[in-house]
Amino acid sequence: MPKDSGIGASIKRREDVRFLTGAGNYTDDINVAGQTYAYFLRSTVAHGKIVSVDTAAASKMPGVLRIFTGADFEAVGGLPCGWQITSRNGEVMKEPRHPILASGKVRHVGDPIAAVVAKSLAEARDAAEAIGVEIEELPAVVDMRAAISGAAPAVHDEAPDNLCYDWGFVEENREAVDAAIKSAHHVTTLELTNNRLVANPMEPRVAIGDFNRASGDSTLYTTSQNPHVIRLLMGAFVLGIPEHKLRVIAPDVGGGFGTKIFHYAEEAFCTFAAKALNKPVKWTADRSEAFITDAHGRDHVTKIELALDKDGKFLAIRTATLANMGAYLSTFAPSVPTWLHGTLMAGTYTTPLIYCNVKAVFTNTVPVDAYRGAGRPEATFQLERVIDKAAREMGIDPVEIRRRNFIPADAFPYQTPVAVAYDTGDYHATMDKLVEIADFAGFEARRAESAKRGKLRGLGLSSYIEACGIAPSNLVGQLGARAGLYESATVRVNAAGGIVVMTGSHSHGQGHETTFPQVIAEMFGCPEANVEIVHGDTGRGPMGMGTYGSRSIAVGGAAMVRAAEKIIAKAKRIASHLMEAAVEDVEFANGVFSVAGTDKKVDFGSVALAAYVPHNYPLESIEPGLEETAFYDPSNFTYPAGAYAAEVEVDPETGAVTLLAFSAADDFGNVINPMIVTGQVHGGIAQGIGQALLESAVYDANGQLLTGSYMDYAMPRADDLPMYAVDHSCQTPCTHNPLGVKGCGEAGAIGSPPALVNAVLDALNAGGIGVEHIDMPLSPSRVWAAIQSAK
């Protein structure tokens, strides 16, 4: 019988009751007494010199409190970048200043030039229109190849060639890789684009700054995945506010997908302006503003070469990637195409030699940073695409070529040639499961049935691995991270037995309020209902590094387990006193302390009460109270892996792709709540389908975003998605975290795009249309164009 409580139970999400009945408390739902409104006047050109900004007339308009320009922010810091990459030649990356409001130049459409604070939003907007802005437009650079050609305008004077860094990994392997490729039996080469995406969380970004003149404290309410990180970055690097004078609250957040990790100018602006005006200042992005200010994702152009021997064994991989940084370095942008990407190029395979070169490029576009998967989808996409192409070229079945190269189950822990060491995995097991749930055996019959209707049916697969549960602090520190990546938790058992867990992991759709109590319920033998999760407020929890990189249960959950273990250890000592037994003899199970071999027992609630009403209590040796904090820093990443398959039908007349089935066999190690894990995979796959078939942020040559609304940016909708077959019964538990868990939040978005593209190419090639590659999104017009050029 399935469990109905604790680890492994598919408990319904308690947070959904408030979300689905409109009782959520999002940042825009917060209104502070006396609140004023900010409106940003944004650049409509991609590149230009600011000749003048005349606010005189606008400042006199009704309701206007003050108009801020770049000059007001010259004395404070720019938006900091949290990761430094070192180029092959030993130089550190170019890190141009990213001002809160543009100063001197605008560098992308959406760059803020001025900000009006007024009594109402309409008045702020009216005044913004009355600001006289003179901009001398400069030629813009959008295309990455053009940007680094030497003939392009420079986005920043500090980087005249628009190169942020030129990274090689593993540099010591470079010559060996070149030699292996030169002498290989077969080399498959593929050039591809990983399309630029806009994250589009349902809730746009919001910031409210509030300043308390009495205490001198600042509070920022913001739509963030990591309020503590915002407090650190904004307090220490931008505004110079010590942490004890700054509170950051990220209440219910309506989706993040990475783009709400970063510290944005509007957050610093509202905090700064609230103090300057001694009034709360609120800003709410509208959707159009989100398109041109939220950090975008992906945007890589890659050439990959795979060398194979005559049996299809992988000998070496060489890649050259251009990665778009946009106009400024967003918080974690430099890490995405490097350490979150190059380290994944071994995939699930034994390839012994790997070399990646990544050039990060400045362009006159919105900054690009982490988006669900961040670097790992880009790695998986190129690898799984080039493998499929190699299989076709060498006449090897795509399942078979992967199996020939899988790291065998008995080879773990496995040291890859790209720095990371996988702790556990069984890639044949997930492939076996995939072949079963996607019914590979029945595919040819289904293909024949489609053919009767004039449709081309295809089956595509991918085998992915990702490194998540980010990350060991000492390791990432060596790699250039300017932050630690531990997590913390406080477990407070109250006198009457109610339990509060304060965690640094932020929940914005992941369901922590449901899964974290399941772990505590399992450990303490209590109902989940006794456990409350507090997160998203630097004033209420200890330090937190936040939620991204599928790290919540693996790192935040582990910190909570460590704190709970301390609680149990202390409670045992209290129980040993109450039962007059030696602490070594005290056992704890199902919420009851007992003494082995006796009928002595005391329940958890009585121990908690004794801790807070310490009448019969060894005060000389044990402090009263029952509250413990733990910090957990992982010793390695976790490595979820799996195999995905897509089954599609292509209409050769129109190029339209219909997704008929999608199957996912994942290994997430131990699973706390299978239903929530399934939901995470569903959501990830939906975003992968979006990237593969629909979504694309397109700029014209002048740096205007052509896809600045849902009229042109195609989001996946329910009827674009088939029913999924999702399985996570293959489980090789993580060996280095206390729960044996691996992250599951990004897998779906990582594994799915190559499966989809491989499926479409299978449909075309099997249908006699020789097409080697189509860049995402595989829109009908692109598929049709590929069919035409194959004819």
């Binding site: 159009s288 129109t654 339209a656 195609a714 009908p780 049709w784």
Partner: protein, 262 residues
């Protein structure tokens, strides 16, 4: 949005009177106009709401015609038993405009008056040989639509209804633009007393048009096989969703499919 006055008109004559004010503009479902206002791309002095005008709200099926009032929503057309029986293609067209919110607010009058080059209704009007009823009189659809976003109406004039002759058979084939799900190419084909009509939306830079080469071929033999090869790509819309060549190609494919579905 900029501030504006708002008036809910009780009758067509009320509305016309109110629309005499400088920069006053009619609003029906607001599905096109409200987003434009929110982006501050229009600054009307007053919005005259047509959605409550009783004389613009009925649907009549009589005398070989389906007459739909200008303020009738897409959903009402999609659900109307008489329309479904008389011109099922028209009900289906309405049922596939936008999403439920759009269909419950958006109106045929608003759609026809707006004449978006990718909108669905204009192709039905042209493809069925409809008559557009307006405050400036009745006009044949062939005269009414005058290129992208342009119609025979002047400012201050309104569409009060549309009458569609009931054909022998008709079908609408819409190939959606992936993001907006408006028609990337939509083709409305009918065969009736007035002969064969083939109207194309979404494709041309000049807005909705009749593909007369196909009409002529189909008049001789109404079968998918007689649909001519794709029209010239010249003058077709090219954008990130499809080249002129692709659109031209789809015109032929969708015409064939529409004929087959008739």
């Amino acid at each position: 949005m900029y501030a504006f006055d708002y008036q809910k008109a009780g009758s067509v004559s009320d509305a016309l009177a109110a629309l005499k004010a400088e920069d006053a503009q009619p609003i029906s479902g607001g599905q096109t106009l409200i987003p434009t206002l929110k982006a501050r791309l229009a600054a009307p002095s007053a919005l005259i709401d047509l959605s409550g005008i009783a004389e613009m709200k009925g649907i009549e099926v009589a005398g070989g015609m389906v007459k739909i009032g200008g303020a009738v929503t897409h959903q009402s057309v999609a659900d109307h038993a008489g329309v479904k029986a008389a011109i099922p293609a028209l009900a289906q067209l309405a049922a596939h405009i936008g999403d439920p919110a759009v269909r419950h607010k958006g109106t045929i009058g608003g759609s026809v008056a707006n004449n978006d080059p990718s909108a669905c209704y204009p192709s039905a009007c042209l493809g069925l040989g409809a008559t557009i009823h307006s405050s400036a009189g009745d006009m044949a659809a062939d005269e009414f639509f005058q290129g992208m976003f342009a119609t025979a109406l002047d400012a201050g004039q309104i569409v009060t209804g549309v009458s569609f002759p009931i054909p022998e058979k008709a079908a609408y084939m819409k190939f959606v633009q992936p993001a907006s799900r408006f028609a990337l190419v939509g083709v409305f084909v009918s065969k009736g007393a007035g002969g064969v009509r083939v109207a194309v939306t979404g494709a041309s830079e000049s807005g909705v048009f009749r593909w007369t080469a196909a009409e002529d071929a189909l008049a001789g033999n109404f079968s998918p096989d007689s649909v001519p090869p794709a029209p010239a790509a010249d003058g077709m819309i090219g954008d990130i969703h499809g080249s002129p060549e692709y659109r031209a190609h789809l015109v032929a494919v969708m015409t064939k499919r529409a004929v087959k579905a008739c």
